[in-house]
Amino acid sequence: MDLPQKSSARSVGKPRRTGSNPLRWALLTPALLVIGLTVIYPLLSSFVTSFRNWQLINSPSPGGFVGLDNYTRAFTDEGFLNSLKVSALYVLVSVSLSLILGLGIALLLSKPTRLNTFARALLIFPFAVAPVLKGFSWRFMLNPEYGVYAKMVGTVIPPLKGYLWLGHDFSALLTLAMSEVWGWAPLFALMFIGALGSIPSEITEAARVDGATGWHIFWRITLPLLAPVVYIVALLKIISALKMFDQVVIMTGGGPGNATQTLYYYIYQLAFRNLDMGYASAVSYLLVVVMGLFAFLYVRTLLRGRS
C-alpha cells in the first residue's frame, strides 16, 4: 500500500523530468530566438561598442577599440555628471512623493465604504495616461499665461502668480516629478490598500484597547507591517524613475539650461543627436549598472517573499 502512495505523491508534488524531451526545446526555440535577437544580441553588441571609438558622423562602421576611454571620459564629462546628479535628485523627489502621497491616499480610502470603492476605481486612470500625453497636458496646464494649474496656484498663493514652473531649475524638476507622481501615487495607493487589508484588525484593535493613539498605531504597527510592500514598490519606482525620458522631451527639453537633463535623456542626446555611439554605449552601461543593482534587490526581495 505504501508504494503507490509514494509514487502518487511524487507525481503531484514534483515536476516531471523532461530534460531530454526534444519537444520542450522545439517549443522554446522561437521564444529564445526572439529574446536572443532583440535582447541578448543588442546588449552584447552595445557592450562591445562601448569599448570602441565610433562617431557616426565620421564612419558608418565602428572604429578601433579604445579600452576604457569611453568610461573614463564619462567621469570628466560635465554633461554626464550633471545628468547623474539630476537623475539622482529626480529619483529622490519622485519616489518619496509617490510613496508619501500613495500611502496618504491609501489610508484615506482604506475603509470599505461605497464612496471609497468608487474612488479606488478612479485611481487607476492617471496611471493609464500615456507619458507623452501627460507631458503635453502638464506643459499646457503650467503655462503662466493660460495654464489652469498656474492660475489655480496663483489664486491660492498670490506670491506664486505668474511663477514660471518650468523656468527655474528646482521647480522644473519638481514639476517633472509631479507629472510622474500624478500617475504613480494612485497606483501605489491601490497596492497599499491591498496591503492594509491584509493587516489583521485584531492587532490594531488590541493596540487601541491598550490606549494607543491613531498616530502611534500608524508608526508602530501599520507602517512596520507595510514595510515589505513599501520596499518593493519603492524599488519598482526607482527603476522607473531612472528611465525618465518622455516628459523631459515634451515639457522641458532638458532645460532650463540642462537642469532637467536626466541620464536617460542625456544618453539619447549622445546617441541620436551627437551620433557618438561608442560613448553613448558606455554611458548606457553605467546606467545599466545602477539599474541592475536595483533590479537585483527587487528580484531578490520578490524571491525571498515567495520562499
Binding site: 557616426l56 558622423i57 558608418p60 503655462n143 503662466p144 499665461e145 514660471l164 523656468g167 527639453g253 551620433l275
Partner: protein, 455 residues
C-alpha cells in the same frame, strides 16, 4: 504597266512610306520633347517604384506635393514612376535617415533639415552632372539653400525642396493706431515694443523664444550675431561667437527679455510653437518666425477673430546699419548612394523642385488646411500669381533670402547646437553673458578637437 513604271511606283511608295515614318517619328519626338518640367521624354522609367523618406505630411506644401506625385497623379502619368512617400514622425526622421544612409537600401530619395546635413551628406549621390545635363539654373535658388545642400567637396547633394526665410509678423492695427513704423532693426523692435507695452497694457511687445528645443532658440540669436558682423566658427572651424561682436549681439538678444522686458518672462520656457501662439491669440504685437506661418495667420481656425486679417509682415530685423543677415532654413532633397533607382529618383526630384510645380502648390488656396506659401526659387517668389495668392509675402521672403545664410557646415553641428541652445537658455535665465559664452566656446572647442578639425 511596264516594269519601269512598276519600279517607279514601288520606289515612290517606299519613299513616301519612309517620309511618313520619319514625319511620324519627328511628330512623336516633338511631342515627347514638349514634356513639361524638364522630365525625360518617352517614360524611360515606366513602372519603376521609388521610395521617398520624408516627414511632416501635415505641412501644406508636402501634402500637396504628395498628391501631385502619388498614385494616379500628374507625375505618374508623365513618367510612369510611382512614388511612395514614407511619412516618418519628425522626431525620429533624423535617426531613420542615418540608419538608412549607413546600412539600408530601402529608400531612394530623402529630404532632410539643413542642420542634420553634414552627417548625412557622405551617403548621398552628387547631383552636379545631372544638374548640368538638365540645365537647372542654380542661380534661381537662394545661395544659402544651395550651400546647405552642398558637401565639403563642393558637390551638390541636395536641391532645395522646402525653405523658409525669417519674417517679422506684426499687428497692423496696433502699429496704425499708435502710428508706429515697421521696425527694420532689432534696436527699432525694442523701441516699438516699449511703446506698445506702454500704450497698450496687457499686450506684449514681441513674442520671443529661448527654450531648449531642437535648436530653435538659435534662430534669432544667429540673426543678431551675423547682423553684428560676428560668426559662430571661423574659417578654420574654431569657435568665435564669444568675441566682442558675439558678446554684444548676445547681450542684445538677452536684453530683449531681461533688460527691456519687451517679451513675456515665460519666453525662457517658450519654443517656436508657444511663442507663435502668443501672436495667434492676440497677446503679442510682433513675432519673428518662418514665412510659412503666414498661411496660419490667415486661417480663421488658428487665430482669434481680433487678429484675423490684421497681421502684416516685413523682412526680419537686421542690426543697425548693417545689411540684415538671417538664418534661412531649408529642406534639401537628394538621392541615397545605395539607391538602385537613382535615375527615376532624379526625375522625381526635378519635378518636385521645379518652379512651375512649386508655383502651382504655392498659389493653391482652395483648401486652407493645405495652403502653403512656401516656394524655393526666386522666380517663383517673384511670380505675380503666387504673390497675389499669398498677400505678397513671397516677394518679401525673396528680399530676405538674398542676404540670408545657412548654419556652419560642420559634421559636429548637432553637438555644437546642443551646447549653444543650452547656453542661450542659461543666459536667458540670468547667467552672465560673457562668462557663459566663454564656457560654451570652450565646450565647442573640445568638440572640434575631438572630431579632428584641429589639434
Amino acid at each position: 504597266m511596264n516594269k519601269v513604271g512598276k519600279a517607279f511606283w514601288k520606289r515612290l511608295g517606299l519613299a513616301l512610306g519612309l517620309i511618313l515614318v520619319l514625319a511620324l517619328g519627328l511628330v512623336s519626338v516633338n511631342a515627347q520633347g514638349s514634356i513639361p518640367y524638364e522630365l525625360k521624354p518617352g517614360k524611360p522609367y515606366n513602372g519603376t517604384k521609388i521610395k521617398f523618406l520624408i516627414c511632416c505630411l501635415a505641412a501644406g506644401q508636402f501634402a500637396q506635393l504628395s498628391k501631385l506625385t502619388g498614385e494616379g497623379s500628374e507625375f505618374q502619368q508623365l513618367t510612369g514612376i510611382t512614388v511612395e512617400w514614407e511619412n516618418t514622425p519628425y522626431e525620429s526622421l533624423q535617426q531613420k535617415i542615418l540608419v538608412e544612409a549607413t546600412t539600408g537600401n530601402t529608400y531612394d530619395a530623402v529630404a532632410w533639415v539643413d542642420a542634420w546635413g553634414e552627417a548625412i551628406k557622405p551617403y548621398l549621390l552628387p547631383l552636379n552632372d545631372r544638374i548640368k545635363a538638365d540645365k537647372i539654373d542654380l542661380k534661381d535658388y537662394p545661395s544659402a539653400y544651395i550651400q546647405a545642400g552642398s558637401d565639403a567637396q563642393g558637390n551638390i547633394v541636395g536641391l532645395p525642396l522646402r525653405g523658409h526665410p525669417l519674417i517679422l509678423f506684426y499687428r497692423k492695427d496696433i502699429f496704425d493706431e499708435l502710428k508706429l513704423s515697421v521696425p527694420k532693426t532689432w534696436q527699432e523692435v525694442i523701441r516699438a515694443a516699449q511703446t506698445i507695452q506702454e500704450k497698450k497694457p496687457g499686450m506684449m511687445g514681441i513674442a520671443m523664444y529661448y527654450k531648449v528645443n531642437a535648436g530653435q532658440n538659435l534662430f534669432l540669436w544667429v540673426s543678431h550675431l551675423w547682423g553684428n558682423g560676428g560668426d559662430i566658427l571661423d574659417k578654420n572651424y574654431h569657435p568665435i561667437f564669444n568675441d566682442e561682436r558675439g558678446v554684444q549681439a548676445t547681450q542684445a538678444y538677452i536684453d530683449l527679455l531681461r533688460k527691456y522686458k519687451v517679451t513675456s518672462p515665460a519666453a525662457t520656457t517658450y519654443a517656436e510653437t508657444e511663442s507663435s501662439t502668443e501672436m495667434f491669440q492676440g497677446r503679442a504685437a510682433m513675432w519673428v518666425g518662418w514665412w510659412w506661418y503666414w498661411a496660419r495667420f490667415s486661417d480663421p481656425k488658428t487665430v482669434v477673430p481680433q487678429v484675423l486679417g490684421k497681421v502684416g509682415f516685413a523682412p526680419a530685423p537686421g542690426w543697425g546699419n548693417n545689411p540684415p543677415q538671417t538664418y534661412a532654413l531649408v529642406w534639401p532633397i537628394g538621392i541615397f548612394k545605395n539607391s538602385k533607382k537613382a535615375d527615376a529618383a532624379w526625375e522625381f526630384i526635378k519635378y518636385v523642385t521645379n518652379t512651375d510645380v512649386q508655383k502651382k502648390v504655392a498659389s493653391n488656396r482652395s483648401d486652407p488646411a493645405v495652403a502653403d506659401n512656401t516656394i524655393v526659387t526666386f522666380s517663383g517668389m517673384e511670380d505675380p500669381k503666387v504673390n497675389e495668392a499669398n498677400g505678397g509675402i513671397p516677394k518679401v521672403g525673396a528680399e530676405v533670402l538674398r542676404t540670408a545664410r545657412t548654419l556652419p557646415l560642420v559634421r559636429t553641428w548637432a553637438e555644437i547646437q546642443s551646447v549653444l541652445e543650452v547656453g542661450i537658455n542659461q543666459m536667458a535665465n540670468g547667467a552672465d553673458v560673457r562668462e557663459t559664452l566663454n564656457r560654451m566656446a570652450k565646450d565647442v572647442d573640445a568638440i572640434q578637437k575631438r572630431a579632428g578639425y584641429y589639434k
